[in-house]
């Protein structure tokens, strides 16, 4: 566990104990609510996790990097943005991964497009997002995130 996850646990534990002292009944209710929340999301989250594992095995990021490196920058940007969209990788892995891409000779613009869509847009999380926020919200948020991810990437190319 990284430092911030440990902090998250400690903060939660402290708040929980505080809540327990202030109102026992309310805290028990909170626990019930938390388990209810967990149950309602468990199947969806597990599906997301195993789907990510599968996608990463079928299309390893190294293959993408190899493919993208040999193409012109525009095409590379589109391809890497799309690949980033399909899967969802936590920032914790995304940064080293993009670091490897840049080291392997992929230009900055496709790498940034990849990084942003990787974490912000996720086809794999769409079913869950739709369930929680509705179709309209999910569609608009993901489309806009995709467009702006490319825009950020292009501007990065100008500044770097």
């Amino acid at each position: 566990m990284d430092r911030f996850t440990i902090i998250l646990w400690i903060v939660t534990a402290l708040l929980f104990i505080f809540s327990l002292f202030k109102d026992r009944k309310k805290t028990v209710k909170a626990l019930k609510m938390a388990t209810g929340l967990g149950k309602s999301m468990l199947v969806s989250i597990l599906s997301i996790i195993f789907l990510i594992g599968l996608i990463l095995a079928v299309i390893p990021p190294a293959t993408i990097a190899g493919y993208v490196a040999s193409k012109n920058e525009f095409l590379a940007t589109i391809v890497s943005a799309f690949f980033g969209t399909i899967t969802l990788i936590p920032a914790f892995i995304a940064f080293p991964l993009v670091g490897t891409l840049v080291d392997a000779g992929v230009a900055v613009v496709p790498s940034v497009a990849f990084l942003t869509t990787l974490t912000m847009v996720g086809i794999v999380t769409i079913p869950l997002e739709r369930k929680e926020f509705g179709s309209r919200f999910t569609l608009v948020r993901n489309c806009l995130s995709f467009l702006f991810a490319i825009l950020i990437a292009l501007l990065m190319g100008v500044f770097l």
Binding site: T12, A13, K26, A30, G36, S47, M120
Partner: protein, 241 residues
């Protein structure tokens, strides 16, 4: 029929399971690789989600609606935008960890714009990942990416709030209502209105709950719930307090 219903409810999970089955039959090694890849994400989920769920529930019960509305509501302006970036930025975990938190915040009055900011910054602008980004991509890269991304999020969260309205987002049922009727399931048979006319009435061919019923008779209500042929009535006595 029951299996079909189960598949329909968990369609996405079913597709993933099917993909794994196919993979295991035709390319076993790739299937095993996939499972190995999933391991990391599984561990991450177990480390992040329990405290997230408990925090969400605690915030839901302790923080009054007015507070959320004041700090993250549509009237919160710059202050709300800043707070949303802070909330998303300091958080740990992948974007789906933000879903229960944001659903709860929206239920309590946070604006769509601020929800989008929290979700997006939760995904890409992470203070916990700052050093990581510097280590792998350099300070120069990090600073420019942060500035551009913050500007982009400010702009597209605003666009989202123009297109998506509060009513587009389904009501969060974190807290189960004491008594509810699933109007999609109701077949309009009127049995409930006959069994318990003080609580149920018909409206446009569907049963509804009379808003200001006094007290519920435990026996009568459970009888009515059981009698409904479409199982459209849900009664949650635990919510009663």
């Amino acid at each position: 029929m029951k299996i079909l219903k189960l598949i329909k409810v968990n369609f996405f999970a079913f597709l993933v399971l099917l993909a794994y089955l196919v993979l295991m039959i035709f390319n076993r090694n790739l299937g095993i690789d996939s499972l190995k890849n999933s391991q990391y994400y599984l561990k991450e989920m177990i480390a992040i989600m329990p405290p997230i769920f408990i925090l969400t529930a605690l915030l839901d019960l302790w923080v009054p609606k007015e507070t959320i509305l004041k700090y993250l509501g549509s009237g919160s302006k710059v202050k709300g935008v800043f707070l949303s970036f802070l909330l998303g930025g300091i958080s740990a975990g992948p974007i789906y960890a933000a879903f229960p938190v944001c659903v709860m915040l929206h239920k309590k009055g946070a604006s769509i714009r601020n929800i989008v900011i929290i979700l997006s910054s939760w995904a890409v602008i992470k203070v916990p990942m700052l050093l990581n980004e510097v280590k792998f991509l350099g300070v120069h890269f990090m600073v420019i990416r942060w500035i551009l991304t913050v500007i982009a999020i400010i702009v597209f969260s605003w666009i989202t709030s123009l297109i998506v309205k509060d009513k587009d987002i389904p009501e969060a049922d974190i807290e189960l209502p004491l008594l509810a009727i699933n109007s999609k399931a109701c077949i309009g048979c009127r049995l409930c209105t006959k069994n318990y006319p003080q609580v149920f009435k018909m409206e446009n061919g569907k049963a509804t709950i009379i808003k200001d019923y006094k007290t519920l008779d435990e026996d009568l209500i459970s009888q009515t719930v059981k009698a409904c042929p479409a199982n459209a009535i849900s009664y949650n006595p635990e919510t009663n307090d």
